[in-house]
């Protein structure tokens, strides 16, 4: 199992929950975390609590400095110059310099841009490419461009507030506070993260999205992220008329309210409203009569809707979609096997950068040519691209899911309001502290 990127992103940040009786933050103590699953990108997301990126994007979509304190670019966006923060050290005591940061950064950027060169000199880091890189800052805010090194024991060495003490792959991760963290030592002495338990006994635990209602222990509060995972039907090579008819049959509200237990919002667009700002323009209501008219034009046999075998939520969504489709005479068989006509997908929204996210998903569904026409400086092109993707029905958005964590009463975040406003994606562990008198 691998922890999804968003989860580690969540754990890497902190939202302060206002609690009665919570006064000033206290240092010390160990935070126990239980995570039900490990998803793709887990290791990279884990780096976010151990490693840091050069910049990050706040809730308003603004670029904020982290390891880079300043940056410049030429008019063509082909050459970027970053000034790294001084007095930053890796967990093993080595100082952060352009030379030490360059290898990890170069590997990540080459995956994104192909031929990229990096010049390192002191704290100055120059990234250069033959292609324009107007979105480089947004890319550098993503977890996969974090700065890290590997020890001789192949342990991850970053510059974040926590350092890795022990790592049992897919079972347990133990972190300890990095006393020399450039932004100040975290409150917690250590963090013990257990994977795949799902018992909900930790100080902090995730609550998976699903139709089952979770009875939380007394005093446990929940935290919901902004909608950040798109659940949609990928149409593949299915008949466009069928996809249009199918989209008209689906009643999304029960999926969001019942199957997702209100941990999601009805999705009419690819990007959630809080990211794109225009999702409301795609709103529609089910029209079974119209769907039947469309189905009268095509003669198709039974189809299948695939979902991951271990994902109960997507399974219930698939069954609901099949039920809705049956009202229009469309026969769809939910299946967990690989060879399905249609596929239910979960698409994580990695950042608040609309252009970046839309481009990713366009490429995912094979609309690469249209994605290339996207101009981030022209917001209308974003809408036009998403409109065209939805009109094709190659992707049928269903719901945008929020992530939920349960937080025990002894855990507090500092400062609560600031953290919530600064990063709607995640909880930041460095802002957490425990009331050791309250007991585990």
């Amino acid at each position: 199992m691998r922890l999804p990127g968003w989860a580690w992103l969540a754990l890497s940040s902190l939202i302060c929950i206002p609690l009665a009786g919570a006064t000033r933050p206290r240092y010390g103590g160990t935070l126990t975390v239980e995570l039900s699953t490990l998803g793709t990108g887990g290791e990279t997301a884990l780096a976010m609590s151990i490693t840091e990126t050069l910049v990050r994007i706040n809730a308003r979509g603004e670029i904020q400095p982290v390891l880079a304190v300043a940056w410049q670019h030429d008019p063509d966006f082909k050459r970027w110059r970053f000034s790294l923060r001084t007095k930053v050290t890796f967990h093993d005591g080595e100082a952060l310099t352009a030379a030490s940061a360059a290898p990890a950064l170069l590997a990540a950027l080459k995956q994104k841009y192909g031929e990229v060169s990096i010049e390192a000199g002191g704290q100055a880091l120059v990234v250069e490419s033959d292609h324009a890189m107007p979105q480089l800052l947004e890319e550098l805010a993503l977890p996969d461009t974090a700065i890290f090194r590997k020890s001789d024991a192949n342990m991850l060495i970053g510059t974040g507030p926590f350092r890795v003490i022990a790592w049992e792959p897919e079972r347990r991760l133990t972190l300890a506070a990095f006393n020399d963290y450039w932004d100040g030592r975290p409150y917690l002495d250590s963090v013990e993260i257990e994977f795949g338990s799902g018992r909900g006994h930790g100080d902090l635990f995730d609550i998976p999205v699903g139709p089952a209602r979770r009875i939380l222990p007394d005093g446990v509060t929940t935290w919901l992220s902004e909608p950040r995972t798109l659940v949609a039907i990928a149409g593949g090579n299915a008949d466009p008329v069928l996809l249009q008819a199918l989209a008209l049959t689906i009643d999304r509200a029960p999926i969001a309210n019942v199957l997702a237990q209100h941990k999601g919002d009805v999705a009419f667009g690819v990007l959630p409203q809080w990211v794109s700002g225009y999702e409301f323009l795609f709103q529609s209501t089910p029209d079974v009569a119209r769907a039947k008219q469309l189905m009268a034009q095509v003669h198709l046999g039974p189809m299948s809707l695939g979902y991951p075998a271990d994902n109960l939520f997507l399974r219930s969504v698939a069954e609901r979609v099949a039920l809705n489709a049956r009202d229009a005479g469309i026969t769809i068989q939910p299946t967990s096997t690989g060879n399905a006509t249609l596929r239910l997908i979960e698409w994580p929204i990695e950042s608040t950068d609309s252009a970046h996210e839309l481009k990713r998903i366009a490429e995912q569904i094979g609309a690469n040519e249209r994605a290339k026409q996207l101009d981030a400086s022209k917001p209308e092109t974003l809408y036009q691209l998403e409109r065209s993707l939805l009109d094709d029905h190659r992707i049928i958005p269903l719901v945008h899911l929020r992530e939920t964590f349960g937080i025990s009463p002894r855990v507090h975040f500092q400062p609560p309001s600031q953290t919530t406003a600064s990063d709607p994606f995640a909880l930041h562990l460095e802002d957490a502290w425990v009331d050791q008198k309250a007991g585990p």
Partner: protein, 574 residues
């Protein structure tokens, strides 16, 4: 068909028929017995099923009531404004109460939670909101829609008073193969449920029975070689046919027993046939041997051995028959001897009469002539010497003539007595006919003779026959003479020849007065004649000649029209 075969068939038929009747009766009785047993089994199975459905229905109702009384449902009843968190409640409650189906349905009929088809939340179950009190209703059969099809369920509904109306709890258990398997097993009985909302699986007697029940909606039965099947309709609350219970009684045991009976009957029948065969041979040998001996004796008698005697080997009917046969042949021999004696006497008498008659005619002139000669001699004088000489000459002439006549008569009898064996040689019958008729041409054309027209109708393919030409010539000559005698006033004489297969036919016809049937019967008897001066030997000689040539002669005569003699001669050895 031989006597032996008849006996064999009689014995075999008797044995086989008896065995068949016994086997059929036994088989019928066994079938009826099994049918009664099948009926009892069916009634038992149906009774068990109905009791089990009743028991299960009560159990289902109890469990649904437990669900309705559960905290979760009670909480839901007071908080119908937020039902989404109860989405999985039905699954949990169904699992707790071991129910296959469970739905929590709101006052408007909308499903809040469904255990059997979770995705159906929000869909309507319009049949649940009813004016009556569900809590007093027993469990009933119902078709339950599932994501992968439909199922037959035993459903109970209970209602819970909620803030905005009634909250309905509809739950039940599957009525399927597992349910049937849970019933007490009855040997040889198989229970099946055909759900009326599913396609019929296969063809066959059961399928046809299902179709009949679907049309008539009542219990029906059908018997096949393999099983007797009873189909019982199972209806839902609104009397719609939901399923058909098939109670299948295996007939394997009956078939096995009937097969045993048939095999035994066949074995007994085969033994009967074998016994019949042996008995028929034995009986036939006992019965038919004296009969065959008797038949052989009969054949010998038929061949002329009238003194043949049959063996009398038993005192039964066959022995009596043999004794009677011997008595009969003895009497026949005695009668034959007496008849031969009588015929011989009659023949001598006839011969004597004929000889007397034939000889008396010439003797009388002889006597007169001699008396005249004596009287002429006694009265002889000189003057009458010349007259005497003349009388003497005339008398001697007459005497010689009559003596010649006597000699002729004697010669004929001598000829008949001395008929020689034929010297066979190929004889052309057409040529023979022409030669014979030519002999009579001069006679027929002589003055004073009655006018007789001769006709020759000779077949070109008549060919030759092996015959003695002199004897055949004589026979034909006699027939022609006979024909001419039959036509004293003239007429037509016809000679025909023809060939039929291996025979040559010669017919001689006249147009005389004809003969009566009695005359025809006696015509070939020696010395029998219908003519004033005949010897009665002409046709007898003809018959003798034809007989010596292995041929046959017959006569056909119509009084007033004429007579036809027909000679048939074989062409073999020509």
């Amino acid at each position: 068909m031989s006597f032996r075969t008849k006996i064999f068939l009689s014995i075999t038929a008797t044995v086989v028929l008896s065995v068949w009747v016994v086997a059929a009766v036994v088989s019928t009785l066994v079938t009826q017995s099994f049918q009664r047993r099948d009926d009892q089994r069916t009634a038992t199975a149906v009774g068990q099923l109905q009791r089990e459905i009743g028991r299960r229905g009560a159990e289902v109702a109890r469990r649904v009531e437990a669900v309705a009384d559960s905290d979760a449902v009670q909480r839901l009843a007071v908080n119908l404004s937020e039902t989404s968190q109860y989405f999985t409640a039905a699954q949990t409650l169904a699992q707790e109460q071991s129910l296959d189906f469970l739905q929590l349905v709101g006052p408007d009929g909308a499903i809040i939670s469904s255990a059997e088809w979770p995705a159906r939340f929000g869909y309507k179950e319009d049949w649940l909101p009813q004016p009556f009190d569900w809590n007093t209703q027993p469990a009933f059969l119902k078709k339950e829609d599932l994501s992968d099809g439909s199922a037959l369920g035993l459903i109970a509904v209970r209602s819970v008073k909620a803030a905005d109306g009634m909250l309905y709890v509809a739950g039940g258990q599957r009525l399927d193969k597992a349910f049937l398997d849970s019933l007490p097993a009855t040997d040889g009985v198989r229970l099946q449920i055909y759900r009326n909302f599913e396609p019929r699986e296969s063809a066959g007697a059961a399928a046809a029975l299902v179709d009949d029940v679907r049309r008539k909606s009542r219990e029906l039965s059908r018997v096949t070689d393999a099983a007797s099947i009873t189909a019982i309709p199972l209806e839902g609350r609104d009397k719609q046919l939901l399923a058909i219970l098939l109670v299948e009684n295996s007939r394997a045991e009956l078939l096995s027993l009937k097969r045993y009976i048939q095999e035994t009957a066949a074995a007994v029948g085969a033994a009967g046939v074998l016994l019949g065969l042996i008995l028929s041979f034995w009986t036939a040998s006992r019965v038919t041997r004296p009969l065959r001996d008797l038949a052989s004796s009969v054949r010998e008698v038929a061949m002329g051995k009238w003194d043949t005697r049959a063996n009398v080997s038993s005192s039964d009917e066959v022995g009596q028959l043999a004794r009677d046969f011997n008595g009969m042949t003895q009497q026949l021999v005695e009668q034959r001897d007496r008849m031969i004696q009588a015929e011989r006497v009659a023949a001598w008498r006839e011969l004597a009469r004929r000889l007397a008659h034939e000889l008396k005619n010439p003797l009388f002139p002889l006597q007169i002539t001699i008396e005249n000669l004596q009287r002429a001699r006694d009265a002889s004088t000189k003057q009458f010497d010349d007259q005497f000489d003349e009388i003497f000459r005339e008398s001697t002439f007459t005497l010689l003539a009559e003596l010649a006549h006597l000699k002729t008569i004697v010669g004929r009898f001598s000829d008949f007595a001395k008929m020689p064996a034929p010297q066979l040689e190929p004889v052309n019958v057409n040529q023979m006919a022409r030669d014979v008729i030519q002999l009579f041409e001069a006679q027929l054309r002589a003055p004073g003779q009655p006018p007789v027209e001769t006709r020759l109708q000779l077949a070109a393919d008549a060919g030759e026959v092996p015959a003695d030409p002199d004897q055949l010539h004589r026979a034909l000559r006699n027939l022609i003479l006979n024909a001419l005698d039959a036509m004293p006033q003239g007429g037509a004489l016809t000679i025909r020849t023809a060939r039929h297969d291996s025979k040559v036919v010669i017919e001689v016809s006249d147009t005389g007065e004809g003969l009566t049937p009695e005359e025809c019967d006696r015509l070939f008897t020696p010395y029998y004649t219908t003519k004033q001066h005949g010897t009665g030997l002409g046709l007898a000689i003809v018959q003798s000649v034809v007989s010596d040539h292995k041929g046959a002669i017959s006569v056909h005569s119509v009084p007033g029209k004429g007579t036809t003699f027909r000679i048939e001669l074989g062409t073999a050895n020509v």
